[in-house]
C-alpha cells in the first residue's frame, strides 16, 4: 500500500511539474510574497502623489508604514491568490482523469482508488507547502530589508495557519472533483463549497477563515483571542473531505 502510494505520488508530482502547474504556483506565491512588503512600503507615497494638487488645503497625514502593514498585505494577497490557486489547481484533477478516460485505464491495474485520491491531495499539499514557504520567506526577507525583522517564531505560526487553511480549500475542491460528473459541474460545485466556507466565516469564529485573522494577530502581536476551535474544525473538514472523496470514488462507476 505504501509502495503504491509512493508510485502514485511520484506520478502526481511529475505531472504537476510537466504540466507547468508547479511552476505557476511557485511563481505566483513567490511574486506575491515579495510584493507584499514592497506594496506596504510604497502605498503611502502612492497615496500622497495621487492626492497632490487635487486636495489643496487639506492636509492628509499618512502614518509611516511599519512591518505590521507588510504582514497585513501578505495575509491579504496570499489568502486571495492562494485561494484562487488552490481551487484552480485541484478542482479538475479527479474528474479530469475520469472524463478523459485515464481513470478507466489505471483502475484496471492494482491501484486502490483511495490511494489515487490520497496521492492527489498529498501532491497538492506538497506543491502549496513549497509555494507558501518560498513566498513567505521572500516576504520575510523584504520585510527585514524595508522595515525591521518580525519575530521569526510568530511569523512561522502565521505561515502555518495560512497553510492549514489552504489545505481545507484543496480538500474541498478535491471533493467537488470527485463528486462532479463533468469538469463544469465539478468547478461549479467547488465554487459553491468554497463560498459556503467563506460565508461560514462571517457567522462563526469556528470557520477556517478565522485562522487567517488569528495568524495575523499572532504575527503582529495584536493580542486577538486564539482560535483553537477553528483550527480543529479546519483539520476535521479537511480530513472529512479527503475521506469522503475516497469513499465516493470507491463506489463510483468509471466510464
Amino acid at each position: 500500500m505504501m509502495r503504491i502510494f509512493g508510485v502514485q505520488l511520484r506520478k502526481e508530482i511529475t505531472e504537476l511539474w510537466r504540466t507547468r502547474k508547479l511552476i505557476i504556483v511557485l511563481v505566483v506565491l513567490i511574486a506575491f510574497g515579495l510584493m507584499s512588503p514592497i506594496l506596504a512600503k510604497i502605498t503611502p507615497d502612492l497615496l500622497e502623489s495621487m492626492g497632490e494638487g487635487q486636495m489643496e488645503g487639506i492636509i492628509i497625514t499618512i502614518p509611516e508604514p511599519t512591518q505590521k502593514d507588510a504582514i497585513d498585505q501578505l495575509v491579504r494577497n496570499v489568502s486571495q491568490f492562494g485561494l484562487l490557486l488552490a481551487v484552480l489547481m485541484s478542482f479538475g484533477t479527479v474528474v479530469g482523469e475520469r472524463e478523459r478516460g485515464q481513470a478507466a485505464l489505471v483502475f484496471a491495474h492494482p491501484l486502490p482508488r483511495e490511494v489515487f485520491v490520497a496521492a492527489k491531495f498529498a501532491a497538492q499539499a506538497i506543491m502549496f507547502a513549497a509555494g507558501l514557504a518560498l513566498g513567505a520567506l521572500g516576504a520575510y526577507i523584504y520585510t527585514v530589508i524595508l522595515f525591521d525583522a518580525p519575530p521569526a517564531g510568530r511569523y512561522l505560526a502565521l505561515t502555518g495557519l495560512i497553510y492549514v487553511w489552504l489545505l481545507s480549500l484543496i480538500a474541498l475542491s478535491l471533493l467537488a472533483s470527485t463528486l462532479g460528473r463533468s469538469m463544469g459541474s465539478a468547478g461549479g460545485l467547488a465554487f459553491v463549497l468554497i463560498v459556503a466556507l467563506l460565508l461560514a466565516g462571517s457567522f462563526t469564529n469556528l470557520a477556517p477563515g478565522a485562522l487567517l485573522e488569528w495568524g495575523r494577530s499572532i504575527a503582529i502581536k495584536a493580542g486577538s483571542p486564539a482560535r483553537w476551535g477553528a483550527l480543529a474544525v479546519t483539520v476535521v473538514v479537511t480530513a472529512l473531505a479527503v475521506g469522503a472523496s475516497c469513499i465516493i470514488l470507491r463506489r463510483q462507476e468509471i466510464d
Partner: protein, 310 residues
C-alpha cells in the same frame, strides 16, 4: 477444466435502460474468444463489469476463480475501447509507471514495446501519438503484467486495414500464452483469429459456439464470379446455363459480375469452377456468413432457440 471466465446471469440496468438482460457465458481457458454484437448490444458494459469499473445489477463474473468485485483482483489486462493516456508521459514512462503499480521487479518493458511495434517510438510523448499508436500502447499496458486473461474492447475497430491486420496478428501470436476475450461488431475480425464466438444482442447472448461450427452452420451458399470485360457476354451465357442445370437457385448478373446462390453448396463448388476454365477470370469468391445473416437466421422463428455448444 474450469473455464477462464464464467459469467452467470449478468444483468445491468441504467435507470430504466436494461443494458444486460441476464446472460450466462463461459470462456474456455487458453482460447481466443470473440464477443460479437452490433452497436449498443452491451459489449462495453460487459467488459466494464469484468474489469470492476462498473458493478452488475445482478449476477456474477468469475475470472480465473476470482469473483470480480469481491475484494481480490483477478489476473486481467484490459484495453478500453478508446484508451487515453497521460499526454505528458512517454510510452516507456507509462509502462514503467504501470510496472511499478504491479510492483514488478524486472518488467519486460522493451520486449512488450517490441511486441506491439512501438520500439522506435518509446521516447516520444504520448500526446503526439496517432490513434493506431495509442491502440498499440493500450495493448502493451494490458500485456505488461503478463495477465492470464486479456480483455480487449473493440481492439481493431478504429484501425485502418493494415493496423487491423497487425493488431490481429499480435493477438494471434499470443494464442496459448493467455486467454483472450475481445469484443467487435465485425464478424470478419472474429473469424480471422477466434476459436470461439459469442454473439450478444440487446443485452442477451444469442449464441455461443466454436468458430468453425458457427461458420459452417451459417455459411451462405453464395459465390461471386467476376470476369474481364471481354468475357462479359460469355458470363451471361454461363448464367443461363447454370439456371437450367438445377445446380443453383438464383443467378444475378451485373455486367462483369455474377452472383450465384447455390442449391447444393458442395456440388456447386465442384462443378461451377470447371465451367469457367476458359474464361479470363478476375475473381471467384465464396461469400462467407455475415453477422446480419446470423441475426436474420436466429431471429427467424422457424429456427431453433439459442444454443450453447460444447
Amino acid at each position: 477444466m474450469t473455464p477462464a471466465i464464467e459469467i452467470r446471469n449478468l444483468t445491468k440496468r441504467f435507470g430504466t435502460v436494461t443494458a444486460l438482460a441476464g446472460f450466462d457465458l463461459s470462456v474456455p481457458r487458453g482460447s481466443i474468444f470473440g464477443f460479437l454484437g452490433p452497436n449498443g448490444a452491451g459489449k462495453t458494459t460487459t467488459l466494464r463489469i469484468m474489469t470492476g469499473l462498473a458493478r452488475a445489477t445482478a449476477g456474477s463474473v468469475t475470472i480465473e476463480g476470482v469473483e470480480v468485485g469481491r475484494g481480490a483482483r483477478p489476473p486481467i489486462g484490459y484495453l478500453p475501447d478508446t484508451p487515453s493516456f497521460y499526454s505528458w508521459m512517454t510510452a516507456r514512462e507509462f509502462l514503467t509507471y504501470i510496472a511499478r503499480l504491479h510492483e514488478l521487479s524486472d518488467p519486460p518493458i522493451d520486449a512488450t514495446l517490441e511486441r506491439v511495434g512501438l520500439a522506435n517510438a518509446n521516447k516520444k510523448r504520448v500526446g503526439g501519438f496517432s490513434r493506431g499508436m495509442k491502440q498499440r500502447l493500450g495493448l502493451a499496458q494490458a500485456l505488461l503484467p503478463q495477465p492470464r486473461v486479456l480483455l480487449l474492447d473493440e481492439p481493431v475497430s478504429a484501425l485502418d486495414p493494415a493496423g487491423r491486420k497487425a493488431m490481429l496478428d499480435i493477438m494471434g501470436d499470443l494464442r496459448g500464452e493467455m486467454t483472450i476475450f475481445f469484443s467487435t461488431h465485425i464478424l470478419n475480425d472474429a473469424e480471422r483469429i477466434c476459436d470461439e464466438i459469442g454473439i450478444i444482442d440487446q443485452g442477451r447472448l444469442v449464441i455461443q459456439a466454436r468458430r468453425d461450427d458457427l461458420l459452417a452452420r451459417f455459411a451462405r451458399p453464395v459465390f461471386e464470379i467476376e470476369v474481364a470485360p471481354d468475357d462479359a457476354p460469355q458470363l451471361a451465357a454461363l448464367a443461363e446455363r447454370l439456371e437450367t442445370t438445377g445446380l443453383i437457385e438464383r443467378a444475378a448478373l451485373d455486367g462483369v459480375r455474377l452472383r450465384v446462390t447455390a442449391r447444393d453448396l458442395d456440388r456447386a463448388r465442384r462443378e461451377v469452377l470447371p465451367m469457367l476454365a476458359d474464361r479470363s477470370l478476375v475473381r471467384f469468391e465464396m461469400l462467407g456468413a455475415t453477422l446480419e445473416d446470423i441475426f436474420l437466421n436466429l431471429t427467424d422463428p422457424a429456427n431453433s432457440r439459442p444454443e450453447v455448444a460444447s
